[in-house]
Symmetry: C5
Subunit: 88 residues, 5 copies
């Protein structure tokens, strides 16, 4: 999993029932709290808001299991809001 930050929404029509009503979050990937140059477009399971730090799962089979479905065209999903990153 990766830690990201929600920096926007992507507005696009996808012609597959899975995406009906799904928001598409534009998430910048972070490295120790700092933005990197990488990003992912994710669906959202936790109601993440603008600028929130989130946990992103980026594997198709895992993403489908988060949704409790065995098929579905999905790979990247926001699975948690990050409350804290405690470095040691």
């Amino acid at each position: 999993m990766k830690v990201g930050r929600v920096i926007g929404n992507v507005v696009s029509t996808i012609n597959h029932e899975f995406f009906d009503g799904e928001r598409l979050l534009l998430c910048k990937l972070l490295d120790r709290g700092e933005d990197t140059s990488a990003y992912l477009i994710c669906t959202d399971r936790v109601g993440a808001g603008a600028d929130e730090m989130v946990l992103i799962l980026d594997e198709g089979n895992s993403a489908r299991q988060i949704y409790g479905i065995s098929t579905g065209p999905i790979r990247s999903v926001v699975v948690g809001i990050v409350d804290a990153v405690d470095e040691v």
Copy 2:
């Protein structure tokens, strides 16, 4: 998923029935509207035109589900035209 921009077509004969009649789009990946150095060759489900900003799904199982098939040699597919990217 990733956001890309259609910058061309690739003309190539692939000896597998899946590709009969399929266009192969050359898509530059974008980061906040700017070209990156990465690209993908994608099939097209939405009739994307030159220079359009598109949403790309890059996972084999997901791509096959977009086509409604259980097998097929496909991984990267344009699944939507991006109408807007609203940054926060």
Copy 3:
């Protein structure tokens, strides 16, 4: 597999029973003992502590087999403590 170093914990609630009671380790990936700019958030099968060098398996199906489950939303898991890296 990759070699990493545990540099922290991520505190986040994930709404899926798999993660109940699982720690999420923030692991920096290493190259010959030196930190790289890449990291992974991993679950932990070995009780790895702060600053320990660990072996990370980063594939969904493999990760699920380490847990002895056939389904589960997991991809990156710490599978071993690295006792030594013997270069030749």
Copy 4:
């Protein structure tokens, strides 16, 4: 998929029947006709020759379907000769 250029052959014995008689092509990945620093070792389905521009499919399940097999230790395969890349 990716566009590459055949820059050589790799000579290696692999102890698995799938590779009996298979050539292993060393393919440089290209970005708009220019070499990048990335490469892949691919099997060949199209009889690609030295210096030819080729289309590379880099996913295990897709690669196996190109061969019409359900199992087989293969991930990267040259699936087409690129006749032209028409940029827009």
Copy 5:
């Protein structure tokens, strides 16, 4: 597949029967004979020795088929010794 060079061994106990008796090779990935900054920890099917140039298969399903098993927590495996790389 990738070409790598064996630069060491990783000593680590992994609590899964698959790894009983398996060596873990530290392999630097090469680009035209030169070391890159990337590496992989691989299991070994060919008895590769120190400093040998090897062929690495890096996909879970393929790796399992090289071992002739349908399950097993494995992704990166050394499948051949590279006898020669003939560039054109």
